[in-house]
């Protein structure tokens, strides 16, 4: 096993899949010679050539739409949106086309495209380079949305996404890219889409979250362990469709649930998680379902003190976990 950063894990997954299956190709803005603005496709152009690592014109609807057409043909396109915020011009292609292709054609045509995009804040990216955009898509049957929290998950889930027979949106936390490192198996590990993962076993309170917040929660849990508070942490990993069983199990286990997202609070995917819990295990609850999220303002500002005020962080989480435990 080698220690890989989150972004190295992404690059490795891409390289391995391109090597394994020549139907796999990459397209997006600056993914070629430049290797991507974050360098997620670093080295692929050199290794696989310009026909399989395609620099596209600056047009997200075309990146998605051309990818969809190629996927219908039988290719396995991996499209990159330079920032998740810039996926919005492609919403019609993703929701009207990719998500509905199999269904509308009664299983005749399929659309095995993967769309990767860096999301998330805390990088001085201001309003348009910091957003969590998943809620826009988390109501579209036919789509799957994956948001890995660790390098190992990132690699194994991206490989699964590329092999998945249906369209997958794959959101990578841009602050995780270089911040997170861990040992990642050299083997061809596939991590199944649709399964949440218990990142920490615990018995006092349950934290359900995804993405970078998993780490904040784990750090907080470590601190709280010293105070005798034992947190159970479920990483959703796939945020659409949700792993209902895992959510119900995790919530029932402790009866005290804290949900965390970096997204704006109202209308985030946490609402659905809360609904699942209150539909299925209401009587197992010993406390109201708590949520920590970004505030309901459009997106995080640029100036450092303003960004800080917006961002969910370890301290906010730790405090909420503590009061929930004490409830």
């Amino acid at each position: 096993m080698a220690v890989l950063s989150y972004i190295q894990a992404i690059t490795k997954a891409l390289a391995e899949e391109m090597k394994r299956d020549e139907k796999v190709f990459v397209l997006g803005e600056d993914v070629g010679v430049r290797g991507g603005v974050f360098r997620a496709t670093n080295g692929l152009y050199e290794q696989f050539g310009e026909e399989r690592v395609i620099d596209t014109p600056l047009a997200e609807s075309a990146i998605a739409g051309v990818g969809i057409g190629a996927a219908m043909y039988g290719m396995r396109p991996v499209a990159e949106m330079q920032f998740a915020d810039f996926i919005l011009p492609a919403v019609n292609q993703i929701i009207s086309e990719a998500a509905k292709m199999r269904y509308r054609s009664n299983n005749d045509w399929t659309c095995p495209i993967t769309i990767r995009a860096p999301y998330g804040g805390g990088v001085h990216g201001a309003l348009y380079h910091s957003q969590s955009i998943e809620a826009v898509f988390a109501n579209q049957p036919g789509l799957k949305i994956v948001m890995p929290a660790t390098p190992r998950d990132a690699k194994g889930l991206l490989k699964s996404a590329i092999r998945d027979p249906d369209p997958v949106l794959f959101f990578e936390h841009k602050r995780a890219y270089r911040m997170l490192k861990e040992e990642v198996p050299e083997t061809d590990e596939l991590i199944p889409i649709g399964e949440a993962d218990v990142k920490r076993e615990g018995s006092d309170i349950t934290v359900i979250t995804y993405g970078l917040c998993v780490h904040f929660a784990l750090e907080a849990a470590n601190n709280l362990a010293e105070e005798g508070i034992d947190a159970h942490i479920l990483d959703l990993r796939t945020i659409y469709p949700l792993d209902q069983d895992a959510i119900i199990k995790a919530a029932s286990k402790t009866g005290k649930v804290l949900l965390i997202t970096e997204d704006n609070k109202e209308g985030s995917i946490l609402g659905e998680v809360a609904a699942i819990i209150s539909e299925h295990c209401l009587f197992d609850l010993d406390a109201p379902i708590q949520r920590i999220a970004g505030p309901d303002v459009p997106a995080m500002p640029y100036a450092p003190p303003l960004e800080k005020e917006f961002m969910v962080n370890k301290d906010k989480i730790e405090q909420a976990m503590r009061s929930l435990a004490e409830f």
């Binding site: 075309a62 990818g67 057409g69 190629a70 086309e97 292709m101 509308r104 054609s105 005749d108």
Partner: protein, 330 residues
């Protein structure tokens, strides 16, 4: 004296008669749909009438064993020429389980059949343009001799996806033919309120590709233009934009009332140039279409459509519980 124009295009008398048969089949199927709609038997029709010549002419210029297509909702002529049957279209109109396009899930006019390499279409206009470009890209990557042919209305050529798709195709020199069927209206909006350019094909210059405008009522002119574009595509010379000019002879759809926004005279005037009539005249002038051929043809089409209708009407809907299927692959 009428000059034989099809020979020099490499089309035999039999070819053009078959071309005409296809146009007429499209017209007669479409007319039947309206009758069924007005009789309350099918809830919706969207028509090809006035566009059959360009549709069939174009389809005949493709390699129907290899090429991919992304037809738009009016393309009854295209899909018939590519191998969809009248029965299949009736199954679609009646939204029955056997409809090959969607098993009754989608409205009529939302074509698609993998066996015919015909991409599945949706309602939001122009999304199919990037898809067709994606086919072209796949063909290029895989070094396959495939042309990707896509159609849309002239109103739809104002969507962003038209621009983005054509630009992508031209930068990557992909084997794509984009054919804009200019029928003068986008629902109620006349051409001059949709665009300010003289010709839709003027847009080609912005992509550095050939842009051609042809008479959409003349199947041979369209055949020739599409054939040349296909040759270019196969020679790795990149995409072509073709505009076919004709007129929408029916209301936008069975839900529309066109008397609100255009007058009868305009429609009557256009009917004189109807490709089905003018091409029949061409064939009659060359003695290819004789009275007896014509009446046999009409008779056989009528039977085909009658049978298709009877079959489709009697066919079953999909099971209600089937709506839960095919959201994801198993």
């Amino acid at each position: 004296m009428t000059i034989n124009r099809h020979e020099s295009l490499g089309l035999s008398d039999q070819d053009v008669l078959e071309l005409y048969r296809m146009m007429l089949l499209a017209r007669r199927v479409d007319e039947r749909m309206w009758l069924l709609n007005r009789a309350g038997k099918i809830p919706f029709v969207v028509s090809c009438q006035g566009q059959e010549a360009q549709q069939v002419g174009a389809a005949f210029a493709l390699d129907r064993e290899k090429d991919y297509t992304a037809p738009y909702y009016r393309d009854v002529g295209v899909v018939l020429a590519l191998g969809m049957t009248a029965r299949e279209l009736m199954l679609q109109a009646f939204a029955k389980a056997e409809d090959p396009n969607s098993g009754g899930r989608q409205m009529p006019g939302h074509f698609g059949a993998k066996k015919l390499r015909m991409l599945s279409g949706s309602s939001p206009v122009t999304t199919q343009v990037p898809h067709a470009v994606g086919i072209g890209l796949a063909a290029k990557i895989e070094k396959k001799d495939i042309v990707s042919f896509v159609t849309l209305g002239e109103g739809s050529s104002n969507q962003g996806d038209f621009h983005e798709g054509l630009n992508f195709a031209s930068v990557h020199k992909l084997p794509v033919i984009v054919m804009v069927e200019n029928n003068q209206y986008a629902i109620s909006i006349p051409l001059k309120k949709q665009v300010a350019c003289e010709k839709i094909s003027d847009r080609a210059l912005g992509y550095g590709i050939p842009g051609i405008t042809v008479d959409g009522n003349d199947p041979l002119a369209v055949y020739q233009a599409v054939k040349q574009a296909a040759d270019r595509a196969r020679a790795s010379e990149g995409p072509t934009l073709i505009e076919t000019v004709s007129y929408r002879l029916t209301p936008h759809s069975s839900d529309d009332d066109d008397s609100v926004y255009r007058n009868k005279e305009e429609v009557e005037e256009a009917k004189k140039k109807d490709g089905v009539l003018t091409f029949a005249q061409y064939l009659r002038d060359l003695n290819i279409l004789t009275d007896s051929v014509e009446s046999d043809l009409e008779q056989s089409l009528k039977e085909e459509i009658d049978q298709a209708t009877t079959y489709a009407e009697a066919a079953s809907y999909a099971e209600p519980k089937s709506i839960y299927h095919h959201v994801y692959g198993e």
